[in-house]
């Protein structure tokens, strides 16, 4: 079976093929849902937001610009959904505004503990930086693809990611991530 590329599928969806849309959902729902999980930190909310992303993408697909790649377009919708959801929430509930002291820091014991700590530190990051880290490590995008998705120049993406990584590392060092290794 020939695998169609994303833009071909988008073209077919625009011309009425629901099965092509199903293929796109299959292709991206897992990544988007998991990215949402890291952005909003709640299973049910991430589920709802992922559905919203695909419904929104479907409704707006007629205006899809074929100069871009589908994944950068849908990731952007996802990032915007998560950011606007975070902003609509009362400040006390927003993840990036949570006082780190008030949230219990997981202990970095064993592999599972380290992963939890990593997620915890990621949630503590500023939203702009968190988005870049998620796109880089969770969605596996290159610097150029992140630039296309976020509309930030590649040079800026590199420098911001550098800052984000350093923030992450310092947080992990402070919480004993590297002890016993």
């Amino acid at each position: 079976m020939v695998t169609k590329d994303d833009n071909e599928l988008v073209y077919e969806v625009i011309h009425g093929s629901i099965s092509s849309f199903e293929v796109l959902v299959d292709r991206y729902q897992k990544t988007i849902f998991n990215m949402m999980m890291r952005m909003v930190g709640d299973y049910e909310t991430a589920r709802d937001l992922t559905q919203d992303v695909f419904v929104k993408a479907f409704e707006k697909m007629g205006g899809f610009d074929f100069r871009f790649r589908f994944f950068s377009w849908i990731y952007r919708i996802g990032v915007n959904e998560a950011i606007s959801w975070n902003r609509k929430k009362p400040p006390t509930e927003r993840l990036d505004k949570v006082d780190p002291v008030s949230v219990e820091t997981p202990e970095a014991n064993g592999s599972e503990g380290k992963s939890k700590l990593l997620r915890h530190e990621l949630r503590k990051m500023e939203e702009d930086y968190r988005v870049l880290v998620l796109l880089k490590y969770y969605c596996g995008l290159s610097y150029e693809e992140i630039a296309e998705t976020t509309h930030i120049p590649v040079k800026k993406v590199r420098s911001r990611l550098f800052i984000a990584r350093e923030q992450l590392r310092k947080g992990l060092v402070a919480n004993g991530f590297f002890e016993n290794d």
Binding site: I14, G16, I18, F21, E22, V25, D26, Q29, K30, T31, F33, N34, M37, Y43, R47, T50, Q51, F54, V55, F58, E59, K60, M61, G62, G63, F64, D65, F68, S72, W73, R76, I77, S111, K114, S115, L118, R119, Y137, Y138, Y143, H151, F162, R165, L168, R169, L172, V173, F177, F178, D181
Partner: protein
């Protein structure tokens, strides 16, 4: 290597952007620098756990819920509009660039036009002193001199300066007469074509007009004219310069162009 370079290289290594040679260089550096080696190890551990996150991705199937929310029959194609607009800086937008170029072009044209106009119109100098032609960029001074015809009586004074190049013959006429005089420049239309007539410092009572094989000047007072003829074949030919008073010829002479 500076600390900044080392950190940059370690990050590039994590991104898989280091060449084999650079990687070898970095590894040998890390052997001698334990602090940098620790930094690199820390990042390798972080990277390992980030990669582990992928294996812990929650598998989910939201397709039924998504499809339930989509009603194909009521789906209408939205108007064609890019969801993601290219965000450009103001000066890099095509409309701004072209608009700016257009305005700049118009302005430059206006300045050039004003300059030329001022140069030609406001000049009180004799035509022989004037530089340049309005057909091409060659200077009148650089053209070959055919001859300078001069006539002087108590009532009329005329200077006809004829020069030529391989393509152009330029005739500069300074006419000064107390009463109306008529002057003609006659040539063979097989050899020359009138390209331009420039009334330079010409009063209201004087005119210049061209026909296929001659140019006629009706002159009263002091006037200056420039005529340009297209030099069709660059072969030696005569151009006649005549002055009439009350339709009687008072001066007649010829100039040969393309002498060589």
């Amino acid at each position: 290597m500076t600390e900044k370079e080392i950190i940059g290289k370690i990050h590039r290594k994590l991104d898989g952007e280091l060449s084999a040679e650079e990687q070898r260089e970095l590894e040998s550096y890390l052997v001698d620098h334990p602090e940098a080696a620790q930094y690199s190890n820390e990042w390798e551990l972080i990277q390992k756990h980030v990669e582990l996150e992928h294996t812990q991705f929650i598998d989910i199937d939201l397709k039924p819920e998504i499809l339930k929310r989509i009603n194909m029959e009521t789906y209408k194609q939205p108007p064609k509009r890019a969801e993601i607009l290219i965000v450009r800086s103001f000066w890099s937008r095509p409309v701004v660039k072209f608009g700016f170029s257009f305005v700049l072009g118009v302005f430059a044209g206006f300045v050039l036009f004003s300059f030329l106009k001022a140069d030609l119109k406001g000049s009180g100098r004799a035509t022989s002193e004037m530089k340049g032609t309005f057909y091409d960029s060659r200077s009148f001074d650089n053209m070959k001199t055919a001859d300078i015809l001069q006539y002087e009586s108590s009532l009329t004074k005329a200077v006809c300066n004829v020069r030529y190049s391989s393509k152009i013959v330029e005739v500069r006429v300074d006419l000064s007469s107390l009463y109306p005089v008529k002057s003609t420049i006659e040539f063979d239309y097989n050899n020359f074509n009138v390209l331009n007539i420039q009334n330079l410092s010409v009063n209201d009572q004087s005119t210049a007009m061209a026909a296929g094989n001659f140019i006629q000047i009706n002159n009263v007072g002091d006037n200056k004219f420039i005529f340009q003829l297209y030099n069709k074949n660059s072969l030696p030919h005569n151009i006649d310069f005549k002055i009439y008073q009350n339709d009687s010829p008072i001066y007649q002479n010829s100039v040969q162009v393309n002498k060589e």
